[in-house]
């Protein structure tokens, strides 16, 4: 489909002075696309030139349209010598190729120079006319929509989710070509920027082709990364989830908090049993992965071409013992068979999505991750990126088999990343093993057949995803299972780790919080294969220790599940950095976590004292955290009634890397100082460190919450105030002889201090939650640790913080709605009563201690379990019914609350808009405010249009570092410039916000002695048009205002 690209250069403003004599500039513009270049006339002697050029027309292939950016260069005309470049603007015209996205690009763009930064602005108009496609064997994929958002975009309905798409392209890095020795830094930077822009265009086009092949029309959760491999080249790779999206006609969706109703098709395929054979691997892998540590260590292998790969762990709830029952077995097997056929055809049943339409996600198994250490060699033939492909293929296979071992057929919340140091590269992939409802993935499922009832999972949506997907008799790892505390019907693990967002329908007690595990490991400096081996030997230990830290911190906060888990391991010349971030929550469906027990090895008097003080500190912290995060589990109430429910004793050990896996310690009685009941030897210095690091994590100051997921459980009433920010901190370790411990301390302090800084800076936004805290660590040089963070601070209405909006209850479908509703309301109400029963619980635990159920004695126990569970369930229902009347009043109260708060906020919003309006007259500003957020939504607004993906790569270099305020000054202005350029592009597309914004790379190289520094930043996001939720007829209005803005600018 060839097309015609038209561009018009309107005007410039704030240009720099290029002629010292006159203090003016004789500017003209070159417009280049592919190999065609046009020029405007020279506009003499002005810093605000009005070119008002003709329309420059480029007749091009759509393949080029997708690959190439429009390149605009502003120059200063010089009669006697060469013209001086002022700066450039690259415009990605991809958004114009989609009929649904933007129709014109028009606005002021910052003129960017890689040496001087932003130097004035230029007003440009760009349009594209596409002709009809006649060629069947086309190379382009115009029309495929791309979204960075990792959920089904608002305003769309997923007709079908096709699955994983990936692609990578490689090239030589211009920075390392011989010509770089003779060209200027500016030319080199520009060559690099242009190349990467081309490569990402090509990559996007190729992915688009794959999507078309699969029959889809969009890529959701598009994640593109650059690997700067130095000498060996430049890799641009991308993954995403191919979907068929239908646009929901405007007006039918209105709520930003709940996901747009991607209503499941009412009639699904009636012949699902194409090939019902069970995968042989589903049980076979279990033994190799039964313990994380062992699997990681044992399966290390060396492959031939100097590369070492270490497939890592399956993370799931760790614990031991457990009961089993066969109740759900047959159904589960059937389910697995059916869904496997749906997914079997796919090479990789991976999904980059992190949140799903209701009913899509059936069960979650746990986190699967794989890492591999590779030695980079030169990419000899850029057209055949096979080595890199093979590497990733290997890792994905690993992930796939991990998922199978967990009894899951799919991996969701999937992501990939790399860390490179010299010639060593760590490739990592991680995701969450899960079982998905196959309805969304079958061809033609929308059109025929009746509903397949076997897939209508009987479990309620608020807890269904927690139910274990694997076979209880053949568990892939030791886990302690109990009956779901929500529905009492199926088994759940004691702890759940995932990489996805908390499902909107999940039942959660209290609030969540950010939990981080941080780790530094020194390593010897080495070269080549030796180095790679050393690194791969360290990896499993790091992974295990990070996991242990996470587990302990989770327990310390009295929570039982992690969402959005992201583990990053970064490699430097003499150390490895590991950072795991996740959001801890208390899932109502999962059992309450036990405390943490500390014990000394030798029962000496002195030790005893020490143990007791530490134990007390830990207990106090747990109690404090419970209060802080409002965790008041409902289970306690039931126990007050004296039910015979088998009390799962999941007092966890304090995991430590060096401790041998001790026998299951079911119960501890510290006062008796049983010798074999120790959990942690505190005379071990490591252990003391561990405890200290556990306790030093400060909780956020009052009024602040933090999480790394899309939203914070327990907070629903956001106001419209958002502040997205990026912060970078680099620490220089001056002392060469640091131990692992002191390094850990330094690293932990660095992260903690960053958080403290955020809290302080954003204190005016209290009550406020930092959402989507995305930490990125790197070791840019020896002795340097770099941490960059992007997040968004959002204010919420304090009065209502503890109440869920009433609508959320209504969305919970099913027969149990009534009971659940009253039940969960009861949770928030009866804080005092639960407190009083805590003590009774503890005593109960001690009584039960003698009956400790080991894994061996499962069968009898489980039968008894089941009986008692039913009894308990009945009792519970009776209980709620009795209390019913009281609770209803409570409900109306909460409704009244929400109404009053609405009234409360309306004058505020009016005041705001008034101030905006008054400002218009003031100074005649024509700059549209563009909001940015790493989340997929903006609170209080509704997205009415997606304008296309923003994917930008910038290089900035300076040879006058001191004059620019040192590295901090240099980076500060660069980040501000990047924000400005993103905003300008969004505004030119007619948008007013960027959602799912992320800064994927921030590579900083400095040489203060030479007064030089260079930095590369890669950002991406979705440009959108959003309107206030209250605005009735948005579409026409927005488009108009966008155009008037542009018109203002040109006049």
């Amino acid at each position: 489909m060839p097309g015609k690209l038209k561009a018009k250069i309107v005007a410039g403003r704030h240009l720099p002075v290029m002629d010292r004599a006159s203090d003016l500039t004789d500017a003209f513009v070159e417009v280049k696309f592919g190999n065609t270049t046009f020029k405007t006339d020279v506009y003499p002697k002005s810093l605000n030139p009005q070119w008002n050029s003709e329309w420059f027309k480029f007749e091009v292939d759509d393949e080029d349209l997708q690959d190439e950016p429009l390149q605009i260069t502003v120059l200063d005309h010089d009669t006697y010598s060469a013209n001086d470049a002022i700066g450039k603007v690259y415009i990605d015209i991809d958004p114009l190729l989609c009929t649904e996205a933007a129709s014109v690009i028009s606005g002021w763009f910052p003129i960017y120079d890689t040496i001087h930064g932003i130097r004035g602005e230029i007003n440009v108009l760009v349009k594209v006319e596409l002709f009809n496609d006649l060629n069947r064997f086309r190379q382009s994929s115009c029309g495929v929509k791309f979204f960075c958002t990792t959920s089904i975009p608002r305003g769309y309905r997923a007709a079908m989710v096709h699955g994983f798409v990936e692609e990578l392209v490689v090239n030589e890095d211009p920075e390392y070509q011989w010509i770089d020795r003779i060209r200027t830094p500016r030319a080199s930077n520009e060559a690099r920027q242009r190349l990467i822009s081309l490569m990402s265009g090509e990559l996007q086009r190729k992915i688009g082709l794959k999507v078309l092949e699969m029959g889809g029309n969009a890529v959701v959760g598009y994640l593109q990364c650059f690997d700067l491999e130095g000498e060996s080249g430049l890799v641009v790779r991308a993954i995403g989830t191919a979907c068929t999206l239908d646009k929901i006609s405007s007006g039918s969706f209105s709520n930003t908090h709940t996901h747009p109703n991607t209503a499941p098709p009412s009639n699904a395929c009636n012949s699902p049993s194409k090939d019902g054979k069970e995968s042989p691997l589903a049980h076979g892998c279990r033994s190799t992965h039964n313990s994380p540590v062992h699997s990681a260590c044992s399966s290390q292998r060396l492959s031939q071409n100097f590369s070492v790969s270490v497939p890592t762990l399956i993370f799931t709830g760790m614990g031991s013992g457990g009961s089993a029952g066969k109740e759900a077995g047959p159904l589960k097997t059937l389910l697995r068979q059916q869904t496997q056929t749906a997914l079997e055809q796919r090479e990789f049943p991976f999904f980059t999505l992190t949140s799903f339409p209701p009913a899509f996600l059936v069960h979650v198994g746990g986190v699967v991750s794989a890492r591999s250490v590779k030695l980079l060699d030169r990419i000899h033939n850029p057209d055949e990126p096979e080595t890199r492909d093979a590497w990733w293929e290997e890792i994905r296979q690993e992930i796939k088999s991990h998922a199978k071992a967990l009894g899951c057929h799919a991996v969701i919340g999937y992501s990939e990343n790399t860390s490179i140091c010299e010639e060593v590269c760590i490739l990592s992939a991680s995701g969450t093993a899960a079982i998905l409802n196959p309805r969304y993935m079958r061809e033609g499922c929308l059109d025929m057949g009746s509903t397949d009832h076997r897939f209508d999972d009987p479990s309620p949506p608020s807890c269904g995803f927690c139910h274990i997907p694997y076979d209880e008799l053949n568990m892939p790892f030791p886990a302690q299972l109990t009956y779901c505390y929500n529905c009492r019907r199926q088994k759940v693990p004691d702890v759940l780790f995932t990489t996805i967002d908390l499902p909107t329908e999940a039942a959660v007690t209290g609030k969540g919080c950010l939990i981080q595990a941080r780790l530094c490991r020194l390593k010897k400096r080495a070269q080549g294969e030796v180095n790679a081996t050393a690194i791969s030997n360290l990896l499993p230990f790091m992974e295990y220790e990070l996991h242990t830290q996470l587990m302990n911190k989770l327990k310390l906060r009295s929570m039982n599940a992690l969402f959005g888990l992201h583990i990053q391991i970064s490699v430097g010349e003499n150390m490895l950095l590991g950072l795991a971030s996740a959001t801890g929550v208390y899932l109502t469906a999962l059992p309450a976590p036990g405390g943490i027990q500390v014990a000394g090895k030798t029962p000496s008097e002195l030790n005893e004292q020490h143990v007791l003080t530490i134990q007390k500190r830990i207990n106090d912290t747990i109690a404090k955290n419970k209060e802080l995060y409002q965790i008041t589990p409902p289970e306690l109430t039931e126990e007050g009634v004296g039910s015979p429910i088998p009390e799962p004793r999941h007092r966890s050990r304090l995991f430590r890397s060096h401790s041998e896996s001790s026998d299951e310690v079911s119960e501890l009685d510290l006062s008796h100082g049983k010798k074999d009941a120790f959990v942690l030897e505190i005379d071990d210095t490591d252990a003391v460190e561990d405890i200290h690091s556990l306790l030093t994590d400060a909780s956020p100051p009052t009024g602040f919450y933090s999480c790394n997921t899309e939203t914070m459980p327990g907070i629903y009433n956001w106001t419209t105030a958002v502040q997205m920010f990026t912060s970078v901190r680099v620490l220089r370790l001056s002392n060469a002889n640091l131990s692992n411990q002191s390094l850990n301390k330094i690293f932990t302090d660095l992260c903690e201090n960053l958080l403290k800084s955020f809290y302080f800076k954003l204190r005016s936004m209290i009550p406020c939650c930092l959402c989507h805290l995305n930490f990125n660590v790197a070791v840019p040089e020896e002795e340097l640790i770099q941490v960059s963070v992007t997040a968004v601070a959002m204010t919420f209405d304090k009065d209502q913080a503890q109440e869920r909006p009433a609508e959320r209850f209504i969305t919970k479908g099913g027969s149990e709605t009534e009971d659940q509703l009253q039940f969960s309301l009861e949770l928030c109400a009866d804080t005092s009563s639960t407190n009083s029963q805590t003590s009774s619980k503890i005593s109960g635990v001690q009584e039960n201690a003698l009956v400790s159920s080991r894994a061996a004695s499962v069968d009898y126990g489980s039968f008894a379990d089941r009986c008692s569970t039913w009894l308990e369930l009945l009792r519970l229902k009776a209980h709620t019914i009795r209390r019913g009347s009281v609770k209803t009043s409570r409900r109306t109260q909460s409704l009244a609350h929400s109404v009053s708060s609405l009234e409360h906020c309306s004058p505020l919003t009016e005041g705001r808009s008034r101030s905006l309006r008054s400002s218009r007259s003031f100074g005649g500003s024509s700059v549209t405010m563009v909001k940015m957020t790493p989340l997929s939504f903006l609170p209080g607004t509704r997205i009415i249009k997606y304008l296309g993906i923003i994917n930008m790569f910038f290089i900035r270099e300076t040879t006058s570092l001191r004059e620019e305020g040192g590295v901090s000054g240099f980076l500060h202005s660069f980040i501000a410039e990047v924000f400005a350029m993103v905003r300008a592009h969004v505004a030119a597309l007619g948008g007013n916000a960027v959602v799912s914004y992320s800064m994927k790379d921030c590579v900083l190289m400095e040489n203060p002695n030479k007064n030089q520094a260079q930095c590369l930043i890669n950002v991406s996001g979705d440009a959108v048009v959003c309107v206030r939720e209250t605005d009735p007829e948005p579409v026409a209005q927005m488009v108009n205002s966008g155009q008037t803005c542009a018109a203002d600018g040109t006049s």
Binding site: R732, S734, Y759, F760, F922, G923, H972
Partner: protein, 357 residues
């Protein structure tokens, strides 16, 4: 171990008004941190001094980057680098152009030249305003002066539009520009008791009544230069003191009118000729630039000081000047009523403002 780099950049530029003030006041980062600690910021958010230092550095960097834009405020509104809400932009500009009264008192009426700039460290030492802040304020005066110098139209309005300042601040700048242009002497010891606001008021009076702009509002420099024709006409007022009959007649008219209304009547009667001579002499000499410069000194020496030594109250002064002005209209041989009113109107209000009880 040291922090090599530390930045925080918000999509909406974060600016703390207190820190901005400290920056404007010329505090170093470390002094600003101390000041913030003293102000009790640490208690607000469980912060440590490190956090405060990092925050202060970030903000200082932001302000430094913004400074270029603040110097031509119109750019701030349509630049793309910083996303700042319009009312916050207004705050930034207003504060950037705000000045310290002690400082401006020192510079008022001086030539805004490099020479004066060199003396800034003395002024800084004398006023206690930091040198950095002095420089900013001085440069602001100079910048505004340069811009409006070449513009047509009303001075206050020009300043307001070009620098996006509030009406009050624009008027103050107009006064500063007006004083600098006419080089009014304000530094003499006898004038020390006058505040900047006293002078600013007088400047407003002069601008509104004595400049070219008071007659014609489309001339260049209309509000900066005094109306030459008017100054020429003022010479005609001399008759009031040179003509003995006229002077006596004027005196008796005033004294009759004042009878029974003030205790200070004897002094007024005794001093009438002196005072009248003083005021009229000022008027007739205004054609000389040198005498224009001494306008305020003359007012103080020739009129305010004698009155003060006779312990006139403000009310006395008001009464006297009102009758002094009005009585001239009754003098049948005095023909220059219009000029007299234009002159006395300003003189009257300036003297009221400058007469501190």
């Amino acid at each position: 171990m040291s922090v090599e780099l530390d930045v925080f950049v918000g999509n909406t530029t974060i600016m703390d008004e207190e820190v901005y003030q400290l920056w404007l006041d010329g505090y170093t980062v470390n002094d600003a941190v101390k000041a913030r600690v003293d102000a009790g910021v640490l208690d607000e958010c469980e912060a440590t001094e490190d956090v405060l230092l990092s925050d202060t550095m970030d903000q200082y960097r932001t302000f430094q980057m913004c400074e270029r834009l603040l110097q031509s405020p119109a750019k701030l509104a349509n630049q793309l680098l910083f996303q700042i809400t319009p009312h916050r932009q207004a705050m930034l500009i207003e504060r950037y152009y705000a000045f310290d009264d002690p400082f401006v008192r020192e510079v008022l009426g001086k030539k805004l030249s490099k020479g004066t700039k060199k003396d800034l460290d003395d002024i800084s030492a004398k006023t206690g305003v930091t040198l950095k802040s002095c420089r900013r304020q001085f440069d602001n005066f100079k910048r505004v002066f340069k811009v409006v110098e070449e513009l047509k139209g009303p001075l206050v309005e020009n300043i307001r539009q070009h620098f996006l300042l509030s009406d009050k601040l624009a008027r103050d700048y107009a006064a500063i520009v007006f004083f600098a242009n006419n080089r009014f002497e304000t530094g003499k010891k006898k004038l020390q008791y006058l505040t900047f606001q006293d002078f600013a008021f007088c400047a407003g009076q002069l601008i509104n009544n004595w400049t070219v702009g008071a007659v014609d509002n489309m001339v260049e420099d209309m509000d900066v230069d005094l109306d030459k024709e008017f100054l020429q006409e003022l010479k005609e007022l001399k008759i009031l003191i040179t003509d003995k009959d006229l002077l006596d007649q004027h005196k008796s008219l005033v004294c009759t009118a004042l009878r029974g209304k003030t205790k200070a009547l004897p002094e007024m009667e005794a001093n009438f000729k002196n005072l009248s001579r003083g005021l009229v002499n000022i008027a007739t000499k205004l054609t000389n630039t040198k005498d224009v410069r001494d306008f305020f000194i003359d007012l103080v020496e020739k009129f305010i000081e004698p009155c003060r030594s006779d312990r006139w109250t403000s009310a006395d002064l008001k009464l006297y000047l009102t009758h002094y002005t009005n009585s001239a209209h009754i003098l049948d041989t005095f023909k220059h009523q219009a000029v007299w009113d234009r002159y006395m109107g300003v003189i009257k209000s300036c003297i009221f403002k400058m007469y501190h009880d």
